[in-house]
């Protein structure tokens, strides 16, 4: 009786093993053929639901075929097969030798997946065991980005604190920004010369934060222009920017008590095409000869063409962008340039409003934290490297982990 149970169990285990390991079947069937270059299959294949995703990724990891770990490795690569809901296997990836992982990014929440990996030689495919069936899960929070959240919270919290302080009457200091000191003078010059002011908001749409910064400064400039009763003209290359520009100037004229002086013709749309827009604006410059040109927003290859034309007609030019590649041209051809962050600080500086000043101060808290961490990190990395102090290596590793954006 005991012998019969043992035989039955042995037969069962062999049949299960044969079902689960197509690799063995292959090996047994083909091992006798000496023309085949037989390789061992990968081992320890596991499939894991990817952490903190929307439920569309499964991670696969394996130990490569032993024949892939030798100097004269015979493995030419790996094929990854996927079985969805107990259906037929599908080839989903062809990978090079030495690969030990794969990410299946085409999964769905309502399906069950199983995988196997085939090690390939010139004439043989050694299949691994199939993974256990797995389904994906959706996570609502991405804890990989907890430090990003914390830093955003600190900066955001600082902004709120400073805005509250400014509203209570606390004076918030902001250092002088040279280009912005010249705004009133530049508008005054246009008034004295009886010429218009040209405001160019860049060529990006409202989904670019530089355009938003440019329009915020436009609000302040328009207020001064309305006070001085000067003309402003704003050519745009995006319809939404045109609409936002009109709203901004209209609000500024209304705030200055001169809504009757506002006209929709102050802001116009030409074309979305980059150089078509440039051709039109250049034409406006040489025909209208504005006394002052503001170039504030996101600029690309057109920056030098516009700035050089403004320089050619003798306009005083105040430019600002956060695009490093275009800043050199503005610095070369304009009278004042707001470099990167200064463009974003400009509106707060010009308006002096608690909301904007608080925001600027909050950003400074972020910069202060960055400076402290950089100094600490460099000191730790240097000591760690010079004297091989494991603790310092750990500190650098921890800081790198905190500031990793993965």
């Amino acid at each position: 009786m005991k012998f019969q149970i043992f035989v039955t169990l042995l037969a069962l285990s062999l049949s299960v093993s044969a079902q689960d390991t197509p690799a063995d079947t292959n090996l047994i069937d083909t091992a006798s053929d000496t023309s085949l270059v037989i390789v061992a299959p990968v081992t320890s294949l596991i499939a894991i639901d990817h952490n903190y995703d929307k439920g569309e990724i499964i991670d696969l990891r394996w130990v490569p075929s032993i024949d892939d770990q030798l100097l004269d490795g015979k493995v030419l690569g790996y094929n990854v097969y996927r079985i969805v809901n107990n259906g037929e296997p599908d080839l989903i990836a062809e990978l090079p030798p030495s690969t030990t992982s794969f990410q299946d990014q085409d999964c769905h929440l309502d399906s069950v997946y199983s995988y196997y990996v085939a090690a390939l030689s010139e004439s043989f495919e050694a299949n691994s065991n199939r993974t256990a069936p797995i389904s994906t899960e959706r996570e609502w929070l991405n804890f990989d980005r907890k430090w990003l959240f914390l830093i955003a919270l600190i900066v955001g919290g600082s902004v709120i604190l400073f805005i509250t302080a400014a509203r209570r009457g606390t004076k918030l200091f902001v250092r002088k920004i040279a280009g912005l000191e010249a705004v009133d003078d530049a508008v005054g010059r246009a008034t004295e010369m009886g010429r218009p002011i040209l405001f160019i908001p860049g060529i990006r749409d409202m989904d670019d934060v530089q355009t938003l910064a440019g329009l915020t400064i436009l609000g302040r400039i328009s207020r001064v222009i309305a006070d001085y009763d000067t003309r402003i003209f704003m050519p745009t290359s995006r319809s939404l920017v045109m609409t936002a520009g009109r709203e901004t100037i209209k609000a500024a004229y209304t705030a200055a008590g001169r809504p009757d002086k506002y006209s929709d013709d102050m802001v116009t749309y030409y074309t979305d095409e980059q150089f078509g827009y440039v051709a039109a604006v250049d034409g406006v410059m040489v025909r209208e000869k504005p006394a002052t040109v503001f170039l504030l927003g996101a600029f690309f290859a057109e920056s030098l063409i516009l700035a050089e034309t403004g320089n050619y007609i003798g306009a005083i030019q105040i430019a600002g962008t956060a695009r490093p590649a275009q800043l050199p041209f503005f610095i070369a051809a304009c009278d004042f340039t707001l470099i990167g962050e200064e463009l974003f600080a400009a509106s707060a500086y010009l308006s002096g409003e608690p909301m904007q000043l608080g925001s600027l101060k909050g950003q400074d808290v972020g910069k202060a934290i960055a400076m402290v961490v950089i100094v600490a990190g460099v000191i730790a990395a240097t000591i760690g490297e010079a004297w091989d102090v494991p603790f310092m290596h750990d500190v650098v590793g921890w800081l790198s982990g905190v500031f990793s954006t993965r």
Binding site: G276, L327, L360, K361, D364, M371, I374, A381, E385, D388
Partner: protein, 236 residues
């Protein structure tokens, strides 16, 4: 016929190219004509592209067509259309876009501010995280470099390069941050550090200037190649 059209295309392109170049002399009717053609055609082109890509390609295919069919089925009692590939969220964008058009009706034109407010708010929120991640965290992580190298040896070897590179990265980033710190006046040691930051910025801009000018030269060469090669056939 095709050859004649090709000739016409070549001559027209050359005529317009030279018209734009004529601006280098001064503003003139030839430039004005080229400019007007460029602006007019490109504005029309972009209207068509945006209409077919966004309104038709995304909204109508993704939600509009399905909604119309569904409404028809409700009113006629027919079979509901298949919802496969339908994304009704696209209606949010369509409604916001429609609100923009209300500017044309002065009495309710104020409704067009809502989509603007939505775009501005969403942009600010999205960019806050992007900026913190890419401009702050990645930069800080990349700047924590050792100012010492264990492969340091005699002469200007790889170790010296590592140390100098580390110093440039650290000093450049730190002094640049000091320059862009707005809560303290640029005086004393703080001001000196900020000036170092300005030096780093200017050196970077100088290098960038040269690099970009060279890429612009290649654009000019492309146009001259067209004029002398494709048009006049002087370059084979």
């Amino acid at each position: 016929m095709e050859a004649a059209f090709e000739h016409f295309r070549l001559w027209l392109a050359a005529f317009l190219t030279l018209g734009i170049f004529s601006f280098l002399y001064k503003d003139n009717p030839w430039y004005k004509l080229s400019e007007a053609i460029f602006v007019g055609i490109s504005a029309g082109y972009w209207f068509v592209v945006l209409f077919w890509d966004n309104f038709f390609g995304k909204f109508w295919v993704g939600a509009g067509d399905y909604t119309m069919q569904w409404l028809a089925s409700v009113f006629t009692g027919g079979e509901s259309p298949s919802a496969e590939g339908v994304d009704l969220m696209l209606w949010i964008g369509a409604i916001l876009g429609f609100l923009m058009l209300l500017r044309l009706i002065p009495k309710i034109g104020w409704l067009s501010r809502w989509p603007l407010a939505f775009i501005v708010g969403a942009t600010a929120g999205l960019w806050l995280i992007n900026y913190i991640a890419s401009n702050v965290m990645v930069q800080v992580q990349a700047t924590m470099v050792p100012l010492f190298s264990t492969v340091f040896g005699a002469g200007f070897d790889a170790g010296s390069g590592v140390i100098i590179g580390g110093l440039v990265i650290f000093l450049g980033t730190f002094s640049g941050l000091v320059y862009f710190f707005f809560s303290k006046a640029h005086t004393g040691a703080f001001g000196t550090t900020a000036r170092v930051g300005v030096f780093f910025l200017m050196i970077t801009f100088g290098a960038s200037f040269g690099y970009t000018v060279m890429s612009r030269m290649s654009l000019l060469i492309g146009r001259i190649d067209y004029l002398l090669g494709d048009w006049l056939g002087m370059i084979k």
